[in-house]
Symmetry: C2
Subunit: 410 residues, 2 copies
């Protein structure tokens, strides 16, 4: 990746990190200049010395009262019941000093709110937009000419700022190559322990990718593997995939394929809007039947491009040629339209401008967004040597959580 892009990325990540800290653990001095209720008592009005006037609904303050009657401190949880809420129970009295506001409601209940608590929870457009922003929003699209972001295995494990950068890159760029990892099984778990825990599936916790006879999954053969997202037959496919190369195949073949599905979706939206729409609208059936860690018979329907209602943008790619079911819930007169759109999509995936090709080295771990990147593999000759990868999944929930913890503490 060009240096300019790297710098831009760094700025963007820092901006995000700062914004998070600002909003959630404000240490900012924002003394209260003035506080009062409106005439009807439905609003608290607060003016901070360095900000414009702000309003807080009485209902919101009632619901978020942190007095011992209303709030349980060690679990940080509300004990006040929603059924107790009374929108007619408005503010009767508001008192303030530089550090806090004391509210008294019509029923006599009193609540005290500190300046920082109030400042952080201002109902400004900026704050609301900030709260609505997800860590995977505004992805940086990746063409095949971009060099993969790399990180050192031991640094990721031992340096929290490297771990934070790695996870933020995973959110925004969607792929990181972790280098100089162990040459034996167990490295994945060491890495995942620094984040959260492995997402188990019917293939178990870690899964072994070796060429097998009677393989329950095409990945466990030496056959060419079309680019795909993993586990499209799950209602909730795993968010992130980790593939640890223990031993690479020596010889021709066995190269990894990777393509940024958000990039391809974006190109389709520009050049093939009709086909893009088809893949957003038509749910396809994916299935997986067999036995591995447990016996399984999975069936799920999903559009290829899943849109996030909040942003209207593609948030998840769900596609696997090998797991596309032979049962399809598509009216017969739409079948050719769907196949045409899928062909446009997969042709774009294999366009050399988009398809990233490389051979993992022994000890390297490829970590990528399984809701975004499609991955695959060239076929290879299993009689010419071994190839051994270990894989596992981690869900986005645990990654977002870890990023918040790392950024709170930094």
């Amino acid at each position: 990746m060009a240096m300019k892009t790297v710098l831009n990325l760094r700025n963007q990540l820092e901006k995000f990190a700062n914004s998070r800290k600002l909003s959630f653990t404000s240490n900012k001095l924002a003394p209260i200049k003035y506080a009062e209720r409106n005439n009807s008592g439905t609003l608290l009005k607060v003016e901070f010395t360095d900000d414009k006037a702000n309003e807080y609904p009485s209902s919101f303050l009632q619901d978020n009262c942190t007095c011992p009657q209303c709030f349980h401190p060690s679990s940080l949880s509300r004990t006040r019941k929603m059924t107790q809420l009374n929108l007619q129970n408005v503010l009767e009295k508001v008192e303030f000093n530089l550090n806090q506001v004391k509210c008294t409601w019509g029923d006599g209940h009193e609540g005290v709110f500190t300046e920082n608590w109030l400042f952080d929870r201002r109902f400004t457009t900026d704050n609301i937009n900030y709260l609505k922003t997800g860590l995977r929003d505004d992805p940086i699209l990746v063409e095949s000419s971009h060099k993969l972001h790399t990180a050192n295995f031991n640094q990721v494990l031992n340096d929290k700022s490297v771990l934070n950068d790695t996870l933020m890159t995973l959110c925004k760029v969607g792929v990181v190559l972790i280098q100089d990892g162990p040459l034996e099984v167990g490295g994945l778990r060491k890495l995942v322990d620094k984040i959260g825990f492995i997402r188990q599936t019917h293939y178990g916790h870690e899964f072994t990718v070796k060429s097998e006879k009677n393989a329950a999954n095409l990945a466990y053969t030496s056959i060419h593997l079309c680019v795909h997202t993993d586990l499209p037959y799950y209602v909730y496919p795993p968010g992130v995939q980790l593939l640890h190369c223990i031993k690479q195949f020596v010889g021709d073949g066995g190269r990894s394929h990777l393509v940024d599905g958000f990039l391809v979706a974006d190109k389709m939206l520009q050049a093939y809007p009709k086909e893009f729409k088809t893949l957003c609208k038509v749910p396809l059936e994916f299935s997986d039947v067999g036995k591995d860690f447990i016996e399984f018979n999975k069936v799920h329907h999903s559009p290829t491009f899943v849109l996030e209602p909040r942003t209207g943008k593609v948030t998840r790619i769900v596609y696997s040629n090998q797991q596309l079911s032979s049962y399809q819930p598509i009216p017969i007169d739409q079948v050719d339209e769907v196949y045409h759109a899928l062909k446009v999509f997969t042709d774009l995936c294999y366009d050399p401008k988009n398809l990233i090709q490389f051979k993992l080295n022994d000890g390297e771990m490829l970590v990528f967004d399984n809701w975004r990147y499609l991955h695959g593999r060239e076929g290879f000759d299993p009689s010419a040597g071994d190839r051994h990868l270990e894989g596992c999944y981690v869900d986005w929930d645990e990654i977002f959580s870890r990023i918040r913890i790392l950024q709170e503490k930094s």
Copy 2:
């Protein structure tokens, strides 16, 4: 539950089971009466002796060819690439006998399809509707007057038809009380092993519900717990919750509360359509910060009523009074509207017509749809005795998968 309802349920479940078997493992004799291509070669036309004429797009047959070149038998996966698909490569020749159809395409490729394969994959409206139907569709709504469905712990473990009935009841009714379970820890895992595996969260695999000092979750206190769905701060909250009562509190208090969220949503839709719409449209922030199995800082936004795009109906309730964040991404002029709708919702939850109240007995396991039922607990006096529950989660994917396996084999 009245006997009539039970009988209706049984009919409905059997109908579903039969329909599944029929469609996916047809043993029906449906010899082919006639098969031909249309003039342009884009369609195969097949008439079965006991059915009307059916059409199959050439593209669909190309894509689903099961010859050794196109299909890998042990993984049941397509090896033919979508990039190879050619919509101009139409059917040139169709031959048939009573058992199979042989297709030859313009490029010379040949594929053979058996009568059963073709019969099962007819593009009929019935088949498409069947494929689109989810196991949780058409729920049977449950008021507080209904008696809980029960099952015997050992029978669920040892009799596959009882396990199937239990899981189907869980899909349709959403709650089952499993009785005569062990009086010690470990029963949950025995049960879950018969289904799939535990969904891990930041509270671990199994979690212990006892009254604790400095509890990281309000559940781990003796305080009244408002009815809620678990883990609303996860992008993907666990599908099913299991609560095993090892030792019930003796004395007043400690009763379980349970309410069918689909019932309440339905009543809101009828009586409070505006408030229903608000809860479908406005995402609320839920959060959980602390340390348990691992350190966590979870934040997620979800509407209270999540609609399934396929059906337009509520598929998931996401609500927890105690985990509702004090940061809300709501414009200030919508705050009172949202609180009003939440109060209507929670008032309906606590309406005696809707709220199921009971005390779990030692050894009983309550298993319920965490995307549907809200659960809670009366407060109790922890100094008057112990109360010990073990809990865990299982995801719907694994339950649906197990049902398919059980029904394939029955």
